[in-house]
Structure formats: structure tokens, C-alpha cells
Amino acid sequence: MAQKRELWKTHWGMILAMIGTEVGLGNIWRFPYLVGKYGGGVFLIPYIILLLGVAVFAVIAEWVLGRHTRRDPLGAFEKIKFPFGRDIGAWGVIGPFFLFSYYIVITGWVIFFVIASFGRLYFGQDSEQFFLSFLSSPWIFAVHALAIFITSSILALGVQKGIERACKIMIPTLFLLLIIVVIRSVTLPGARLGIEFYMRPRWEGLLNPETWIAALGQVFFTLSLGMGAMLIYGSYLRDEWGIPANALACTLGNTSSSILAGFAIFPAAFALGFGTLVSGSESIGLTFFVLPRVFEKMPAGWLFGGLFFILLSFGALSSAISIQEPSIAWLKEELGWKRKKSALITGIIVWLLGLPFLLNGFIPGGLGKKLALLGKMDIIIGQLALPLFGLVSVIAVGHFMRKKGYQEINKNAKHKIGAWIMPWIRWVVPVFVLLLFFLSLIKVLQDLGKIPQIIPTVSMPEFSPVGITASTIVMMVTICTIIWGGFIFMTHRVIAVEKEKRKGRVG
């Protein structure tokens, strides 16, 4: 029954697969919006503090739990003898599967917009009306099935030949396309205004509690924590790879894509006269209503629009495969099914689960009505269940693995972490994750009108008179440090491996 467990083949492939999990729609359509809204460049301060102080440790915890147990999420919780391990671990399989059921619907939309951009389908049309009519067209079924077919096919090929190989193509291409779109965006006449909006620090943003809440939510979701994805990908890590430095490298790689995305969106939007519209739009509105209008007006917009949606679909697909993988791993390891059969069955089930979301689009009315079911599922799964599972994963490592957990963290690590990490994972990280859960709960209840407004909304003043040159330098240094740090780390790692190989040969 027991099948030989696959592991990542190469270090570079593992890094790209992990970045693939983390880089998703949230990086491209949410992070730039949050930066623009909450104080411009200063948003990076709470973001990086929470990223390096809390979220990286949660990533480390999930990797440790995965690698130590070498099991699917359910099996991992059972193996460490976590109380109610089976019932709680089941959420590590079922939670991501529900998430996958609607995430893949949105991935389908993105794929449609690749076709729509190259075919100039939205050119000369009202973008909002175009999107609404798309939701009630046969296209929606075709792209949904296509997206599931792509992810299931990749997963059917296995960890090395499927996930790793696909990410080796998708993630470098994503970064390359992002850089091409950024260059086009920042070289448009009038792009300076967009850069100013995006990066000009408005220091008062730091005093706004909403900024910190938004940063906490973003760091947690952008790293795919609590989705079982990090846990299952962590279980494929080789023993010879140190966890802390790799977790940091992946996290910084993810952050650099988020920052770049803002440079792709805002300069173009402001240059082409959609500044106010873009700065006030979030998520779906920004991506499917506003950006098509920007690309329509841009010289060779069909090409840059197409490239932008290709990179967005790569980000979405690489994340989607990571949230389909826990259920496939469970079928393989607990039921002894073959990978191909598991991929096929999960593909069919998720297609069926997605149908209500698609049919919902045929209900007459606005976007709120057409996306009602999808929104409700996101509230339960994305905003409430996943933070809770993330919390449980951290508690599992901090309280139930203790010494074993600490040994696993530093196993074969070149840069070892001191014993302080365990109390940090045991007490500090859970407090922040719990805080995130309660804040999400309050926000959900507020939005549903069940409770009065508790979290204060502080309106941000207009641009303060801070020199654009100084602020741009500060932000560019931050970005360069992140990108440079990531590359140096990876090069260092490659050189170190080469040296080890040479030593081995000489020895």
C-alpha cells in the first residue's frame, strides 16, 4: 500500500515551487492596492516587520511539520499525536479543497482575459458590462474546465515532473513578463504620478490601525499559510536543505513580485488618466473592470494586456496546484491510490463543486448577486477557517513537537537559529494569528451588518509635501535590497553546493 514518497528534485525547483505557491492573485491585485491606500511606501514598514517577525516563522512551522512527518496534512497531525488530530488534520485537506473550488473559478476568469486581450474582445465596450455578460456566457464553463484540466494534468505528472517542472517554467516567465509590463508602464508619459501615488511615504499611515490590520492579513494570506499547501510542499523538502534560510528566500521572492506588480499597475493607470479609478479599486474591480480600460487606451495595449493576464494566470495556476495537492496527497497516502487517478478524481469533484458558482453568474443583477455564493464561501473558508488552521499548525509545532521541532528547524541548516525560536513559535506567532482570526471575524460581522463598526476607519489625508526624490530613493533601496538579497542567497547556495560536490570528488 505504501508508495515511495516523492521529494523535490532540485533546490532551485523547490524554491520556485514554493514561490509559486505564495505568488498568487493576492500579490498582483491586492498588495499594490493596499500600498496605495495605506500610506504609500510606509505600508512596507508594517508589512516587512510582520513578514519577518511573524509570517516567516509560521512558514517555518508548516515546513517543519511537513518534513518531520512526511505525510499529508491529516496524517501529519495524527503522527504527532495532536488532540483530535484526525478531525483537525482533515481541515488541512478539506479546507484547501474548498478554497480550490472557487479559486479555480477565478483562475478561469483570468485565463479568459488572456484570450480577451489578445482577441481585443473588451476593446470599445463598457468593461463592467463586458465582465458581467462574461459571467453569464458559455465561456465561463469552458475556462473553468480548462483551468481544472491544467492543474490536474500538472499534478498527475507528479512532484518532480509535474509541479517542479511547471513552476520552473511558470515562475521565471511570470517575473520576466512582470518586468516587461513594468518597463512599459513606467516609461509612459505621465507615469511619474502613479509612482508618486504608489511609493510616496505618507507617514501618518503608520498611525492608522487599519494599516497594521491590512498588513497582518496580507502577510498571512500571501504566504499561503493555513492552506495545507506549505505543509504538503514542506513534506517534499529534502533533509539536506536548511529550512530557515530557504523559507526566508521564498518569502522575499514573493515580496519582490508584489512590489513589482504595483509598478506595473499604478504608473500606467495614472499616465492614461485612470488614477483615481485604480486607486479606489480593489481585487476583482481593479483586475477585471479597470485594468482592461487601461490596456485599451495603452499603445499596443492588447499585447501588454495579454502579457499581464498571462503572468496573472501563471501566478493563479501555480497557487491553485498547491491547494489541490493536499487532497491528492491524502488519496495517495491514506487510500493508496495512484497519483493519476487521484488527480482525475479531485479534478472531477472540484469541477462539480464549482458548478454552483458558475450557475450563480446566470442570475440577473449586478456583481453582488452574480458572485454571492463565491463571496460566502470565501468568508467561511478564506477569511475564517484558514487562519484557524494556520493557528493550529503553529500550535502543533510549538507545543507538540518542541525538541523534535527545534531539531528539525536546524537540521542541516547552514544558518542555524537559536533556541529562542521555539518560545517565539509557541507564544508570539499564535497570538498574532489568533489576532488575525478575530479581526477577520469582526470584519466579516461588520460587513454583514451584524455588529456596529468597531475597527475605526481613519481617512488618509492627501499627499503630504515630502520630497519625491528622497522617498523614491528609500523605496528603491528597499526593493533592490530584497531582490539583491534573494539573488545573493541563491547564488551563495549554488556556489556552496558546487564546493561541496567538488570536495566530495576530491575526498
Binding site: A90, W91, E334, G365, A372, K376, M377
Partner: protein, 41 residues
């Protein structure tokens, strides 16, 4: 029951919660059977 009930928020919540609970329970049941089979072997 009016057909418009299917488009109401109330039905949406009932549908989503039912789906989540039923699939979760079915999953646990399926897992238990798998474990029993494994132990029997």
C-alpha cells in the same frame, strides 16, 4: 416555494454551510473506512 428564493442570500448561506458540513463529514467517514481497511490488512 418561490424560485426567487434560490437567488436569496439566505439560501446562499444555507447552501454553502450544508455543502461544507456534508463534505467534511463524508470525508471523515471515508478516511475512517480507509483506516479500517488498512488495519485489516
Amino acid at each position: 416555494m418561490k424560485l426567487s428564493f434560490l437567488a436569496s442570500p439566505k439560501f446562499g448561506w444555507i447552501f454553502v454551510w450544508t455543502e461544507i458540513v456534508l463534505i467534511y463529514l463524508a470525508f471523515l467517514w471515508f478516511h475512517r473506512i480507509a483506516q479500517r481497511k488498512r488495519k485489516a490488512k
